[in-house]
């Protein structure tokens, strides 16, 4: 099992060494490494923004690394494009499937091959045979639009096998699947590995990793923090810790709120289904008191986003209710919820909170423009003045107020967004990943604002993947796993390991 023996007997199927890739304003990979042995299922773990997808895109020929080498079976590769990678046997199954809905399964699988349209029947037979060999239940003559998400994924995998992929990259393959389909996928993946192929399984769901994979590599901040850990010997709590990071110096250790007021946010038995009908929030109840900060911890994709969107009115609620300061707002539109005293700092700052193509002034008046009108026209002077006040109060560094929003740095985007949301003196703030991706000063500034708000009596629901932040700021800490709140901790009397175990779904006795 040690790397020395494997390299002498058999070169690694994939070896990525010291990969660097930068994008404007972001270093996505900062010397990342990955070694995948032939015939194994290898998990690549990491939070959103850890650099997993970028690293896989480097391997699949989508990006060229600025530094570092890609080796397949010991040979250095220099892929110019995805086609070159596919030619070398590396195929990526993206989260968004790349299938033509009006083509049949067989046509999609054989797409891009030399034209053999007349041989339709024989292609269908060949595709059917291949599917059977790997236990992929499918009907080659069916058109793709008729298929479920799980079936479509099997078509993508068939496409890879059709091109005789030796290395298959599955990018968060279970994100779109029902639990049964996910189990089925695990079986398929095992069959492919038994056939000598290597499967790279990108995920941030720890239970899948322990169930489906042989080894795991963990990325954080673009670097490899743990390479090729054997999954058998893994403790899920330890994995969670590796993903979210070691304890760093706590920026603020907040004085806990001694007097918590009446509940200002009361979420009762809330359930949400996503567009595929999968339950993503299950029967969640929580309360936030005036002046209280309630933290929600959890590995990404365990229902935090639909929960916060449902509270803000951007996600249809299946069941349950949301009560804000005594008023039931379950069926209200987002704007009515704002008027009732809700402020929302969404996870997607650009796209949900802010419109990227619009300028700073236009974004700053998103909630208030109706009151800044002069007849049908927006009073530009008033809009500018309110924007200037915001920029001043929250020290947003911006060159030009007429510059497109997308040009601002993450920290400045967030200052403007938070400032705009707080302008109406809300009673409840829902802040989702408010400091993710910000630099040290940005993090401190946003955290300070949140603490300041709680002191003045605002109830805050803080959803974060940064355990240190949650432990430092929260009065109470809830943990979400698979759409449910599975544990509650007192931040003063718990440890990262305990919280990490709960995040991984291993709920011990909490109080």
């Amino acid at each position: 099992m040690s790397t020395t023996t494997t390299t002498t007997t058999q070169p690694a199927a994939v070896e990525l060494t010291d990969i660097w890739k930068r994008f404007p304003g972001v270093i996505a990979n900062a010397g990342a490494n990955l070694v995948v042995r032939p015939g194994t299922v290898h998990a690549v773990l990491g939070e959103n923004g850890a650099g997993k997808t970028t690293l896989m895109n480097v391997l699949a020929g989508v990006y060229r690394p600025e530094e570092g080498t890609v080796r397949l079976r010991g040979e250095v590769q220099n892929f110019a494009n995805p086609a070159a990678a596919i030619g070398a046997g590396v195929v990526m199954v993206h989260q968004e499937f790349r299938l033509i809905p009006t083509f049949t399964v067989a046509e999609n699988v054989a797409l891009g091959e030399s034209p053999r349209i007349l041989a339709r029947r024989s292609i269908e037979d060949a595709v059917g045979e291949l599917a059977e060999r790997f236990g992929l239940a499918t009907e080659p003559s069916k058109e793709v639009w008729q298929l479920s998400m799980g079936e479509r994924q099997r078509v993508e995998i068939l496409k890879a096998l059709w091109r005789d992929a030796k290395v298959l990259i599955l990018d968060e393959p279970t994100a779109v699947l029902t639990p049964n389909e996910a189990t089925e996928l695990g079986r398929i993946v095992a069959t492919m590995a038994a056939d000598g192929r290597s499967i790279i399984f990108i995920s941030h769901k720890l239970d899948e990793v322990t169930e489906f994979c042989d080894e795991a590599t963990v990325l954080r901040g673009g670097e490899t923090v743990a390479a090729s850990l054997p999954v058998d010997a893994l403790d899920a709590g330890r994995l969670a810790e590796l993903m979210v990071g070691e304890a760093t110096e706590v920026s603020i250790r907040r004085q806990r709120s001694t007097v918590v007021g009446d509940p200002v946010l009361d979420v009762r038995r809330l359930s949400v289904r996503d567009t595929h009908g999968v339950a993503v929030v299950n029967d969640v109840s929580l309360q936030v008191g005036a002046g209280e900060i309630v933290g929600i911890a959890g590995v990404a994709g365990n229902g935090q986003r639909p929960l916060s969107d449902a509270i803000a009115g951007l996600q249809a609620i299946e069941d349950g209710s949301v009560v804000l300061d005594g008023a039931d707002i379950t069926s209200e539109k987002p704007r009515a919820r704002n008027a009732a005293g809700l402020a929302y700092v969404p996870e997607d700052r650009l796209g949900v909170g802010l419109a990227p193509k619009l300028n700073v002034v236009e974004n700053s008046i998103l909630r208030s423009y109706r009151s800044l009108t002069n007849g049908p026209f927006i009073d530009r002077g008033a809009a500018r003045a309110s924007c200037e006040a915001l920029v001043e109060t929250y020290s947003v560094k911006v060159g030009q107020l007429e510059a497109p929003m997308a040009g601002l740095s993450g920290g400045n985007l967030q200052r403007l967004l938070v400032g705009r949301e707080l302008a109406d003196n809300p009673t409840v703030v829902v802040a989702a990943q408010p400091t993710r991706g910000l630099d040290v000063q940005g993090v401190a500034a946003i955290q300070e604002i949140l603490v300041e708000q709680s002191r003045s009596g605002v109830g805050i629901l803080l959803i974060s993947e940064d355990l240190d932040e949650l432990l430092a700021l929260s009065d109470r800490l809830l943990v979400m796993h698979e759409g449910s709140v599975v544990a509650e901790f007192d931040p003063d009397e718990t440890s990262r390991t305990q919280v990490g175990a709960a995040m991984a779904g291993a709920v011990e006795d909490t109080h």
Partner: protein
């Protein structure tokens, strides 16, 4: 081997980049065109001077250019209004026809009315006609999410078939020597002349373009349009009803194109003919794209586009084959369009291997 150059996204768009890019694009296109002209045995300087002269060198030239800019501008505005919120109205061609049909119908019913009243009613009819043709796509898109590109495009064919049926059948001019044309419109329905070839239609179009340019740039309505075009979720969060917006914008877009049909009918033509839309609707898509889907930029682009067309036609009198004239026009438009890429991207040179990229253009 990889291409030696690659596009890299700029951190922020180049400031004032659009105008710079257009100028550079047009210059490059003219240089490429010179090669073509030299090969064909023509002096590029003479040809380009002639093109410019015919479009802007005389009152008559300016009038011809502006007359072309009227339908181009209105069709461009129709596409740009929809484009501001990320919708594609590919059906301006059909909506122009629908507008012309409706205008002609009004003239058939109220041919005895005095000029100002008749013209007003015809233009209103044209607006309604264009809007009606867009109504189906608008409802389908707003309520069911049906792709408006497909529906608006297909309705172009329907509009063409309908006008063909009318001028070959029930509306065919009995005194038209069996040509597929409708009878002449009443004399008083012609738009009053302004100067040279230009008529009042120019003022109407200018007013509509200016009005919409200002309204979409300054009003709360235009603001909501741009939010919806930039991010649907942000728009929902701001309390903007996307369905209502999609519906009104598509119908409005059709109505503006319909107005172009009405002005063509009452201004440039004396009767309804099959070719009333003359490709203006499709050219409008290019105009809107060059204006970056901003209604406020459409007027200037429409005049420039009109000038390129007038110039392209004029050089055929110097013996330049029509094909080369068309290629020249296409080169100029293509140059201006493709140069816009550089406002958001820059070209970087890839040195061999995996060393860092160097900036080739600022």
């Amino acid at each position: 081997m990889a291409a030696p150059f690659a596009f890299e996204k700029r951190d922020k768009p180049l400031r004032g980049g659009q105008i710079r890019a257009f100028v550079v694009g047009v210059v490059v296109a003219l240089l490429l065109g010179s090669i073509l002209l030299l090969i064909a045995g023509h002096d590029p300087i003479t040809i380009y001077t002639k093109m410019f002269d015919s479009a802007f060198g005389s009152r008559r030239g300016i009038s011809t250019t502006l007359t072309r800019a009227v339908p181009l501008g209105l069709a461009g505005l129709a596409v740009a209004v929809a484009g501001s919120m990320g919708l594609w109205n590919i059906g301006a061609e059909g909506q122009i026809i629908a507008g012309a049909i409706a205008g002609a119908w009004v003239a058939r019913l109220g041919g005895d009315l005095p000029g100002p009243a008749l013209i007003t009613l015809m233009l209103l009819g044209a607006v309604v006609g264009g809007g009606l043709l867009a109504l189906g796509p608008a409802i389908a898109r707003a309520s069911l999410g049906v792709n408006e590109i497909i529906t608006t495009l297909m309705l172009n064919e329907v509009a063409i078939r309908v006008v063909r049926y009318l001028v070959n059948g029930p509306w065919k001019d009995p005194d038209g020597n069996n040509f597929p044309i409708a009878p002449e419109l009443p004399d008083q329905s012609a738009l009053p002349a302004l100067f040279e070839r230009s008529n009042i239609g120019l003022l109407i179009a200018a007013a509509v373009l200016l009005g919409f340019g200002v309204y979409t740039a300054r009003s709360a309505w235009g603001y909501e349009l741009r939010i919806a075009g930039s991010s649907e979720k942000a728009a929902t969060y701001a309390g903007i009803s996307l369905k209502a917006k999609v519906f009104t914008v598509l119908v409005l877009s059709g109505a503006i194109a319909g107005l172009a049909g009405g002005i063509e009918l009452t201004g440039s033509s004396d009767r309804l003919v099959e070719g009333v839309a003359n490709g203006w609707g499709y050219a409008g898509i290019i105009v809107a794209a060059l204006a970056l889907m901003r209604p406020s930029g459409v007027a200037a682009v429409a005049v420039a586009f009109g000038a390129v067309q007038v110039g392209g036609l004029s050089i055929q009198t110097l013996g330049v084959p029509a094909a080369i004239a068309s290629i020249l026009q296409a080169l100029i438009l293509f140059g201006a369009l493709s140069a816009a890429v550089f406002t958001n991207y820059r070209l970087v040179r890839r040195s061999s291997g995996v060393t860092t990229a160097t900036v080739a253009t600022s």
